[in-house]
Each structure stands twice: as C-alpha cells, then as structure tokens.
C-alpha cells in the first residue's frame, strides 16, 4: 500500500521518519548518558554525605548521646528545603555494634533497639553487607528485591567500629528524577521535531514535486497527444530530475512534430489515393468516350439521319462532351510540354484575371518579384496561379481585396495569394483539396484539387491559413530539377 503512495507524500514521509528516528536515537543516547550520570551523581552525593555523617557521629556514639546522633542524621533532611528532597535519603539509620537500630530518621517505623531485618526483610541483605563491611569506606549497594539504593558506611574511631550508618534511597526518587529528565528531553525533542518536521516535509515536497509534475504530464500522453498539452519543467536544476524534465519536454515536442507529420501524411495519402482512383476511372471512361464521340461524328458526317435522330444524337454528343470535359479536368496531366516560366508568364496571368477583378471592383494588389526564367513548367504554374486567383476573387465581397505575391526564397518559388473574403472554417480545411469540395459554390469544385495535384507533381507544397480577417494560400515550388521525377511518379499516371 505504501509502495503505491505518491512520491509527494512518500518522500516527505521518509524524510520525516528519518528526522524522527534521528531525534529519538540522539535523545535516547543523551538520556542514557544522563541516566548513568544521575546514578553516579546520586551515589557520589550519598558517599559525601555518608563520610561527613560518619565522622560527625563518632562523638555522640562514643558518649552514647542518642539525641545528638538523631539530630545529626536529620541534618541532611533539614538542610534541604521541602519539596527539593531529590537527593535526600529516604531513610538514614545508625546501627550499633550488634546491628540493632541506634537511631533512625523514621523512629515510628524503625524504633531504637529494633532489628531492621525484622521490620523489613529487605534489610537482611543490608545487614549482611554491614556485617561484611571491612573497610572504613562507604559502600553503595543496590537492593536485590526493590529498586532501592543503600549506602552503608562504618562509624570507626581509632580503628574500632562503633556502629554503622545506613542510608536508604528510594528508587522512586531516582525514577522521579529520571522521569523529569525524560520529560525535559522529550519536550526538547518535541521542539526540535516541531521545527525539523515541517522543514523536512517542505524539502521532501520540493524534491518530489518535479517528479510528480512530470508523472502527471506523462500520464496525459496517450495514443494521441491531447490538444494543448504543454510541459514546462518548473524545476530548473541540471541534475537527473532536471534532465528528465528537459528530455520529456524534448520528447513531447518530437511527439507533437511526429503527430503533425502523420496527419499530413494521412491527408496526402488520402489525396494520392483519391488521385489514383479518379485518374483510373477517368482513364477507363476516356477510352469508350472517345469511341462514342468518334462514332457520333462519323455518323453525322456520313449518315443521313432523320431530324429526330439528328436531335437525339446531338443531345447525346453534348452530354458525352460534358463528361469528357469533367473527366479531362480530373486528369491532371503534368507532362505537358511547356517552356520555362518567365516573368512575362506571370504578368500574363495578371492580365487574364484582371477583368474578373474589375467586375467585382476588387482592390487587386500585384507584387511580382520574378526577374529571369525559372526551371518550372510555365503552363502548370500559370494554371495554379489562375485557379488560386479566381478562387480568391470569388471569395471576396464586392470591393474586397486580393493580393498576389511571387518571390524566390531558398531556391523555391513562393506564390502567395490572399484575400479578405469569407474565411474557411477549420473543419473544412481538412477536405479543402479533395475533388468536388463543398467549398466552391459554382464551378465543378475541382479547382483546388487540380491545383493540389499539380503542386504535388511539381514536388512542392501548399499551405492554407485562414482566419476571419484573411485567408491565404501559399504555394512553394522547388526550383531544383531532381524533385520533378519523384513528384511525377507519385502523381497521376497516364
């Protein structure tokens, strides 16, 4: 489950976990050290008190002054203010040489002359330690039965043992101090965590965010690039993540180019297929059509038809001629013998179209930058220009504007015909160059089809841009010779 969490959560989570583990470990180490110190401190303090007390107790013990002894063992209690008894012994008692209680700080529980082990069995071990004590030094011992700490110190005068001082420290004192320490350490850790966790979370998010963005952008890429998918990496670093972002951006660009190319290829494939089909049909129709027209012509010349037959034949002949015209239009013949294109050929086009422009009061802008002869078939080029210009003049309102520019750029003849007439809706742009396109209102709707076929055969390209202000057709025809055969093989056969 954790494996499927988003990096945006997982990374900060891991950093936070690391922070928590570090904080806990450091705190635990410190607390462990403090705990040892605390114990040492307690024992050290207790030893000091024991040393002072045993020395002070010598005189009262020698004089058998129980009250003085009682006052002395009570001083550590009285010297410590109430509530701050953290280092005060739980109980202090003085045992005589028979190990009976001489005095204790808690007389009601541990009265004089009593045997401590009889009151609390725990003292049996203490009593044993008292008996075993051979040195004059205080000795700390931990109770076997509880968490109490005992400090046993002999009271010795001139090498003679007068008695023994026993100080008992309740384990709860140690536990209390330890808990206090733990609480303080816990609070400090809490404060550190309160600072570090948000910082860790923030940095975790920062590390993960570019990857998350990248993954989100990648997720949108399906079999087709969605419209308007853009990826600009927000992360500017040049590390692996940054490189990944840049790579993805580049890949997206390539995908987009590829997609556009594919679309274009599909469109031109379709147009080529349509071209082959129409050419095939036209060819098949042309042969019997020629035969039929020949037969009618022969019959009219040599036969003597009656008026009804003559009228019928004439009707059939006109129909057949119309079919021939249509079929002829469909068959774009690129191998027409013609001379290279000159500036005059282009100017002739202007002259040819001018009457139509005048008929519509069109503002006709002409810009011809061609000077010498170009290695392009003049007839076909002129046909392209006439088709585009007539279409443009047809598209404009009365008094509209039509512009034609011919230039040479990068070994390419560029013919740009634009108008400010009704613009072509984008959904129709895809079918613009298909035969019998719905775009043309009159005419047979083959103008752009023929134009496209010719441009294809000349190895060039045609581009349409249309928006509400202007529609422009740009034809690019390469001047290099080697394009021609390729274009021709791919074009209309026969």
């Amino acid at each position: 489950m954790l494996r499927n969490l988003s990096l945006a959560v997982k990374t900060p989570l891991r950093i936070s976990m690391l922070v928590v583990i570090t904080a806990v470990l450091v705190t635990a180490a410190l607390v462990a050290r403090e705990r040892d110190e605390l114990r040492r401190d307690l024992i050290g303090h207790s030893e000091t008190v024991a040393r002072v007390l045993t020395r002070t107790l010598i005189e009262p013990m020698l004089h058998d002054d129980a009250w003085r002894a009682f006052e002395i063992i009570n001083t550590p209690f009285q010297a410590t203010p109430l509530g701050a008894t953290s280092q005060a012994a739980d109980i202090v008692m003085v045992l005589d040489t028979k190990h009976l209680i001489y005095v204790s700080t808690r007389p009601p529980d541990y009265p004089m002359l009593s045997e401590p082990a009889r009151i609390d069995p725990e003292y049996a071990t203490v009593q044993q330690a008292v008996a075993d004590l051979r040195t004059a030094e205080p000795k700390a011992m931990l109770s076997l039965h509880s968490d109490k700490l005992y400090m046993v110190a002999p009271i010795v005068a001139d090498g003679v043992r007068l008695g023994t001082l026993v100080m008992g420290y309740s384990g709860s004192i140690f536990v209390q101090r330890f808990l206090g320490l733990l609480l303080r350490a816990g609070l400090a850790t809490g404060v550190v965590l309160a600072v570090l966790l948000p910082v860790g979370w923030y940095f975790g998010r920062r590390i993960a965010q570019p990857l998350v963005d990248l993954a989100a952008a990648m997720g949108k890429v399906g079999p087709h690039l969605p419209q308007g998918l853009e990826y600009v990496p927000s992360y500017k670093g040049r590390d692996e993540i940054g490189q990944l972002g840049l790579e993805f951006q580049r890949m997206l660009g390539e995908l987009r180019d590829k997609e556009a190319l594919e679309k274009q290829m599909i469109a031109s494939d379709r147009l080529a297929a349509i071209g082959r089909l129409t050419a095939g049909i036209a060819h098949e129709i042309n042969n019997p059509l020629g035969g039929m027209l020949n037969a009618i012509s022969t019959f009219k010349r040599h036969g003597t038809p009656d008026p009804i037959t003559a009228r019928t034949l004439s009707l059939v002949e006109r129909g057949l001629l119309q079919i021939k015209e249509t079929v002829g239009a469909l068959l774009v013949e690129a191998r027409v013998e013609s001379h290279p294109l000159t500036r005059q050929d282009i100017e002739d086009t202007h002259t040819l179209v001018l009457p139509d422009a005048q008929a519509k009061d069109a503002q006709f802008v002409w810009d011809n930058a061609i000077a010498g002869a170009l290695p392009l078939p003049s007839t076909l080029t002129r046909q392209i220009m006439i088709n585009l210009l007539l279409n443009a003049l047809q598209a404009i309102e009365r008094g509209g504007r039509v512009q034609c520019r011919t230039t040479i750029e990068h070994e390419t003849l560029q013919i740009e015909v634009s108008n400010d007439g009704n613009h072509i809706p984008s959904e129709k742009l895809h079918y613009l160059f298909e035969p019998f396109s719905q775009l043309s209102h009159d005419g047979h709707g083959l103008g752009l089809w023929v134009t496209y076929q010719i441009v294809q055969q000349l190895g060039g390209g045609i581009e349409v841009r249309s928006d509400p202000r202007a529609t422009s057709f740009t034809v690019l025809l390469p001047l290099k010779k080697e394009h021609e055969p390729i274009a021709c093989t791919d074009a209309v056969p026969g």
Partner: protein, 285 residues
Amino acid sequence: METSSRRSLLAAALFASCLRQVHAEQPAAALRIGLTPVFLDDQVAFLNSWRSYLERRLRQPLVFVQRGSYREVVNLLNQGQLDCAWLCGYPYVRHRERMRLLAVPLYRGKPLYQSYLIVPATDTTTRSILDLRGKVFAYSDPDSNSGFLFTQHSLRRLNEMPAAFFGKSFFTWAHRKVVDAVAVGLANGGAIDGYVWDTLALSHPGLTGRTRIVERSPEFGFPPFVARGSLASTQFTAVQSALMQMRDDPEGAGLLQRLNLDGFAAGSPALFDGVAEMFRTSGAN
C-alpha cells in the same frame, strides 16, 4: 563540600562570639547571668529585648551566658565566672551552700511547677510510667529536677531500678527537645518541665499536640534565679528588685508575658525542700 563550609562558618561564628565575650569582660561592671533551658532559651530576639530591658533598669551592661548543659552553667557560677544564673531547683539544692536564692518566677500566680510524663500522641495505651518498661525514654538533663530527678525518684518509689527499667534512655539537654524526641517517636516517653510544655503548647500547639501527658508530678519550687554567694549585696538587691519589678511596668510585663510568667518573687529556700527530699532519698547518681 556544603557541610564542611557550613561547619567552618559555624567555627567562625563561635570564634567571633568568643571575641565578643572577651571584649565584654574588659568593662569591669558587666553583669553576667547564666541561662539554662529551664525556659525556652532559644528565642534569641526575646533574649536581646530582655537583656536591653534589664541593662536599662540596672544601668549596667549585662551578658547572658548560655551553655549546652545545666552542669556547665553551675560550674561557671561556682567558679565565680557568672554573677547570677537561672537554674533548676535540683542543682540549687545540691549547691545551696554556695548560692543565694535571688528570685523565683511566679507561674500561674505561684512559684511552683510540675514535671510531666509525656508519650507520643499515637500511644493511647500508656497509663503510667510502669507501662514504659523496656521502652526508650528521653530525659532532658541529668541535673534537671522535672526532666530527670523526679522520674528517677518515682521509679525508686515503685521499687524499680531506674538504670535498668528502660530499654534505652538518653538526654536531649533541653526540655523542648524532649517534646521533639517524643513527638517524632524517637522516644516512647519523656520527662519534661511542665511549664515548658505548657508554654510550648501556646506557641507551638502543633508540636505539643503530637504528645500526650500521662502523669503530672506534685508541685515543686519553680526553677529559681540564684546568685553566687560572693556577689556584692548591692548588686544582689539591684538585680532582685529589677526582676521583681518587671511586672510593674508595661515593657517588663510584656516580656513576662512572652515568658508565660506572672512575675518574680523573692522566694524562700523552703520552696525547694521537696526537691531536696527527693535528692536525699534517691541519692542521685
């Protein structure tokens, strides 16, 4: 570390007080009065007020001398290092021939007081001293009548050997500390000056409340002020009248009130015959 520094501080304070005493001896006329814990002698501020009051009345400097036990004060008085002392009746009857009775405090209108036998308040069964056999017992001072002699005497009259009767006995060297020892349960019983217990009951009811009075002794002469036998009679009379007139002026009366006393009377040595009798029969120590 702390303890040793405290000890050195104590030593320094002792040394300083010695110096002051040496210094005080230079003007010849300083009157030296010894005090014993027959009353609550640990009230330093009160003692300062009383001293300054008596100095003004006597028109001479006065020094209160306090010691850890009755015996030290008695010795100082016998050696002539003190002019007067507030002693217990017991040392007075023992050294009667070398001392003069100066004044006897009046407690509840009479120059008399009692000894109390007290036990911890938690002990509800003890009815007499006989119930304390084998127990731990706190005396105040071996030279105290109420805090030692009377108890010894009582035990002898009951045909008990005082030295063997208790499991353990000890001295606290002050009546007040007998109350402490019994209150905390260190001792199962204690002998105390009844006047001290009553006075403590007024100022520290919480402390005396933790003890219970089991027996009250017959009345004895109140611990008296005595003068060394060699004290000049003018001086003797001056101190005596200063003490006896305390009840007559407001400041003296106020001091008496803090002492929980009604005044001082000249007193007669016969007041202490009871104590002397006990001393004789018990053959003390």
